[in-house]
């Protein structure tokens, strides 16, 4: 048993912390959000220079072979700074799915430029009537005269506008799930773009008889790879939430010490001290769950999914508790756009809506309770 980071991991953590502190202040973040464009941002270029775009991929696809702990360090730092870059949605998730399914040619066309920072991608796995179930897919694909034809609709596709192409899960007549790469602006696609409540660029993608050549089909049986990638994504989201929880707790504690009412700092009132302790407890318990998730990625699928579902459910509830208390303890200030902690709170509340909420994951844990 060893919870210590390696020297390399400690260096990675320090580098990222410095990067986020220097380049993603509240003001910088605001201007990054308002100038969001498809072109790579300066920060993304820095990610590329630091090797962060290669890091989460295995050596056999040209990556650096980072493990779950490395990814946790990265995501935690990004969460701590509320970094508005689609590292997970635009790089890690679609990239891993490519790495698991694409042939050499397809990797060269889509994965290599991704790792080189030349383009970003998106992953469309979610559908309106399926709620959080990634395997309940109505989008349909059929092959006629050598071409693929796709019809359906995908909801809340993160990074949709900035992606050179979107990976789309579709059901075949055989009942199996297939994976396609749909280039931006393909004939038959239309997007309704928006920002999510926590400021992430996203959109709904409609596929109306989108015709694709055979080489755009990455896999005709993607279920296992999709399960792997969703597990990775959930573990990564937990780590990101830990970073945001840390920051929300730190900012709240600082506010309690600084804000005076009735002639005393708020931190001297016992009721508020205990609430702050509860926040801290939620954070530490969640951190343990995020570590559990990050170190479970290499386990057999059923054991992995059980632990990661438990972590995602646990962190989802804790994130909300911390968000709500951060607002409450900041009083009216915590309700304002101007107060930075409010943005952490928004992110921590909406965190539960990505890749399955705590009800969804509790159901998984509950289903596996007796066999685990």
């Amino acid at each position: 048993m060893d919870f210590a980071l390696t020297d390399e991991q400690r260096m990675l953590e320090e580098t990222l912390t410095r990067l986020v502190t220097d380049q993603v202040s509240p003001e910088q973040r605001r201007s990054m959000l308002s100038s969001a464009s498809a072109e790579s941002s300066a920060l993304w270029n820095t990610f590329a220079e630091l090797g962060l775009l290669h890091m989460p991929f295995s050596e056999n696809v040209g990556g650096l072979g980072a493990d779950g702990t490395d990814l946790m360090i990265i995501m935690q730092a990004l969460g701590r700074g509320l970094v508005p870059e689609a590292y997970l949605a635009g790089l890690v998730l679609p990239g891993q799915l490519l790495a698991l399914t694409a042939n050499g040619e397809q990797q060269k066309r889509w994965l290599t430029p991704l790792l080189e920072g030349e383009h970003q991608l998106a992953l469309a796995w979610q559908e309106h009537d399926a709620r959080y179930d990634a395997f309940d897919v109505s989008t349909h694909a059929i092959q006629r005269d050598g071409q693929w034809h796709l019809n359906g609709r995908k909801d809340v596709v993160l990074n949709l506008a900035a992606a050179a192409a979107t990976l789309v899960i579709a059901r075949l007549n055989s009942g199996k799930l297939a994976l396609f790469v749909v280039p931006q602006n393909s004939t038959g696609t239309s997007s309704h773009l928006y920002f999510t409540m926590d400021d992430q660029p996203a959109g709904d993608l409609t596929l109306d008889n989108v015709t694709l050549p055979p080489e755009n089909c990455l896999s005709e049986d993607v279920s296992d790879a999709l399960a792997d990638v969703l597990a990775l994504g959930r573990a990564a989201l937990c780590a990101q939430a830990i970073g945001a929880m840390e920051e929300a707790c730190d900012q709240t504690l600082a506010y309690l010490k600084e804000r005076k009412q009735f002639g005393l700092p708020l931190s001297s009132f016992q009721a508020l001290q205990h609430r702050m302790v509860d926040m801290h407890l939620h954070l530490e318990q969640s951190r343990s769950m995020a570590i559990l998730a990050a170190t479970s990625l290499t386990l057999p699928a059923s054991e992995r999914d059980y632990k990661i579902a438990a972590a995602k459910a646990y962190c989802g509830e804790s994130a909300r508790f911390i968000a709500e208390q951060a607002i409450q303890l900041h009083g009216g200030m915590g309700m304002t756009e101007e107060c930075y902690v409010a943005h952490y709170a928004k992110h921590l509340v909406m965190f539960d809506h990505y890749l399955g909420d705590s009800d969804y994951h509790l159901e998984t844990v509950s289903d596996l309770l007796d066999v685990a």
């Binding site: 979610q126 002639g263 009083g331």
Partner: protein
């Protein structure tokens, strides 16, 4: 013991329900239903309808032009308004400053201001909180210095709800800096047109412009605009904060929110079954249902005591704590029920006139409302302050 309403009360409920069904403009109730923001005009249209019916000032006695209802009727009226998705009457004039003017104001003030409130001629806003005086309201620093027959007012107020529409401000100011904290405070009525007043919007985390900061820079206020004696402001403020707060639980809103949640969770499907059948979700809805049942009876107990002549005191703090927690939980469950559909944020639809496809309208407000409802446990005395009041007043700790 008997928890049913009397035949007269039930007939009254029917009368209110019929009136609202007929009189409430459907475009306004639709905006409330979708959680879109109401314009000043929306508020005024509805309040003018109520005013003509004689029901705007539901808490006023007949002598001042109110309907002379008791607490039970007011409760029924509030419930029916919420159930029909009527806008909440902007409380600052009719429910807040008016009772203070009735109790402490001069005859001239009563004759001047009360009819104007009743006819929606004046839109009042509240100047209580300051950047340094929130929970510790008596720590306020806005200064009013006598200059002949005027006060010169300097300072800053904050969290002024809908102040952007207001033409009148009631304001707590410090007239005697040497007196003990509460004793040096006076209650002023200020015309928002007076030179030196600046209103600055505060945008909340749901993107809404609901509250404002008000800067007062050498604002000249006539002495006759003071309510009560100099130094009596804290008495006025305390009276206002404890006056007839039997509706503070927001029971009508909670009931409406729970009805909406249940219908939503029955319509939304999860793995082929209604979401309401998912055990972890259902259990939280059931808990909310129980909390609402208990709160309703607790509220009726307080209302009955008020009807029988008891003045509700710290009980209203209990109602506020539980009522706000329940409404927050319901907004949380509504957001959760929508799942991924709660993620997209359409501020131009919620706060402006932009239209949106039907597929989005039903879910558009859920996350914004969840965030907005966080204010319920903060404003009007935070829940922490309410609990301290209960500890001190009821439990004598």
């Amino acid at each position: 013991m008997n928890l049913t309403f009397s035949p007269e009360e039930q007939a009254f409920r029917e009368e209110v329900r019929r009136f609202i069904a007929h009189a409430l403009p459907s475009d306004i109730s639709e905006r409330v239903r979708l959680g879109r923001h109401l314009s000043a005009d929306d508020h005024l249209r509805w309040q003018n309808i109520l005013s003509e019916q004689g029901w705007l000032a539901s808490n006023w006695p007949k002598e001042h032009g109110g309907p002379g209802w008791g607490p039970v009727q007011r409760h029924i009226f509030d419930e029916e308004c919420a159930a029909a998705r009527a806008p909440t009457v902007v409380p600052f004039g009719v429910n807040m400053v008016a009772p203070v003017i009735m109790k402490f104001g001069s005859t001239e003030q009563q004759q001047h201001y009360l009819p104007r409130i009743l006819s929606n001629q004046d839109w009042w806003c509240q100047g209580y909180s300051e950047p340094g005086a929130g929970s510790d309201l008596a720590g306020l620093n806005t200064r009013a210095v006598r200059d002949g027959d005027h006060y010169i007012v300097n300072g800053q107020k904050t969290w002024t709800t809908l102040g952007q529409h207001a033409n009148m401000l009631f304001c707590l100011v410090r007239t005697d800096p040497d007196a003990k904290k509460q004793a040096g405070i006076s209650f002023l009525l200020i015309d928002m047109q007076t030179p030196g007043i600046t209103v600055r919007p505060i945008i909340t985390l749901d993107g809404a412009h609901e509250v404002n900061e008000i800067f007062l820079d050498n604002v000249r206020v006539p002495i006759e605009n003071r309510v009560g004696e100099e130094g009596q402001g804290w008495t006025c403020a305390k009276f206002l904060l404890t006056h007839e707060r039997t509706g503070i639980a927001g029971l009508g809103h909670a009931k409406q929110a729970l009805r909406h949640l249940k219908s939503l969770a029955n319509r939304i499907h999860h793995r082929g079954k209604p979401l309401l059948a998912l055990p972890s979700f259902r259990q939280r809805v059931v808990k909310a249902e129980l909390e609402l049942m208990a709160l309703e009876v607790t509220n009726l107990r307080v209302i009955a005591a008020a009807r029988d002549g008891g003045a509700p005191g710290a009980e209203s703090s209990l109602l506020k704590v539980r009522g706000s927690e329940l409404r927050q939980e319901l907004s949380e469950l509504t957001r959760r029920a929508l799942g991924p559909a709660a993620l997209p944020f359409f501020p131009e639809f919620l706060h402006g006139d932009e239209s949106l496809d039907d597929a989005y309208t039903q879910s558009a407000a859920a996350s914004a409302q969840y965030l907005n409802r966080r204010k319920l446990s903060i404003y009007g005395g935070s829940n922490e302050i309410q609990k301290s009041i209960v500890a001190k007043t009821i439990l004598e700790m």
